[in-house]
């Protein structure tokens, strides 16, 4: 729509049309709009935010699309899963790699096979304790004792909780299992002609028995020796 400014205006003349006002600049011989920014409330700083814009801002925003969910970003993980990364301070893969590779039992210095380990499936308490509590069979109690120096050494023991050295030639075997039988076998060796005898303890015949080393004269003796004892099973 053309604006019909007055012909031959003088410098400073004003002209209003459709709510807008122009002032005539006689030096430049042109009409200049008056109060062109009167309806603008943005500050110069705010207006300068558009500095560098090369095309319509709304068009550019629309081209960005809508992001209101992780799916809009083609992310299939849930927020909970993503939050598992909370606290991560460096590359996850690098940290995982630094943990070393565990791809086999050998990597854990385990020599047993998976099949052997699976034999433990279903175990509900310490196996040794269960074994010790099992009755029957022929060898539930086994102890191998050697005398080296002044103090006996207990080895390869099964079903035995301790050996009590009571003095020269006298030992009490304390069992960790309770046997209904009081029959035991004994074998041993000494450097000379001593021999061993064994005898269930009178007051605890199923949990304790005594071993005596006796010489030819029938006296207790204390040779260097080793011996083993075993239960004879239920009789």
């Amino acid at each position: 729509m053309a604006i019909n400014f007055p012909a031959s205006p003088s410098n400073g003349d004003t002209y209003s049309y459709s709510g807008k006002t122009w002032t005539y600049d006689g030096t430049a011989t042109k009409w200049e709009p008056t109060n062109i920014l009167s309806d603008v409330t943005a500050t110069a700083t705010e207006l300068n935010y558009v500095d560098g814009v090369t095309s319509a801002i709304q068009t550019q925003l629309d081209a960005k699309g809508t992001v209101s969910s992780l799916a809009d970003l083609s992310v299939t993980a849930t927020a909970t899963e993503i939050n598992y990364l909370d606290g991560v301070t460096s590359a996850v893969q690098t940290q995982l790699d630094a943990k070393g590779t565990v791809s086999s039992l050998a990597d854990l210095s385990v020599t047993a096979t998976a099949t052997e380990i699976n034999y433990l499936d279903g175990v509900t308490s310490p196996i040794q304790a269960q074994l010790n509590s099992v009755g029957g069979g022929e060898v539930e109690v086994w102890a191998y004792v050697t005398m080296s120096g002044s103090t006996p050494t207990l080895q390869n023991d099964v079903g035995v909780s301790s050996i009590a050295d009571q003095g020269v030639g006298t030992f009490r075997v304390n069992m960790s299992v309770t046997r209904t039988s009081q029959y035991y076998a004994l074998s041993g060796s000494a450097w000379s002609d001593e021999f061993a005898q064994m005898r269930p303890e009178a007051t605890s015949p199923t949990t304790r028995f005594w071993v005596y080393w006796i010489n030819d004269a029938g006296a207790l003796t204390d040779p260097n020796f080793s011996w083993s004892v075993m239960s004879a099973g239920e009789n």
């Binding site: 304790a129 005398m147 301790s162």
Partner: protein
């Protein structure tokens, strides 16, 4: 437990040595409790601290004045 010996007082005043089994599944305290008679005085010592010689074994003596007592 292999390095431990429990020295205990015998009824005749002598010294007994309790050698605990490391394989029985019991703790040292459990072994002491079940294998020493009630009221027996004892001390837990290191095997290395035992005499090297077993000569005169029945003459060994231990001061049990400040020893533990098996309940």
């Amino acid at each position: 437990m292999e390095d431990i010996v429990v020295v205990f007082e015998l009824d005749n005043g002598g010294v007994g040595l309790l050698i605990p089994s490391p394989n029985c599944g019991l703790t040292l305290n459990e072994i002491i409790s079940r294998d020493l008679d009630s009221g027996t005085r004892y001390k837990i010592v290191n095997r290395m601290d035992m005499p090297a010689d077993r000569s005169y074994r029945n003459a060994w003596q231990v001061d049990f004045t400040d020893a533990e007592v098996n309940e």
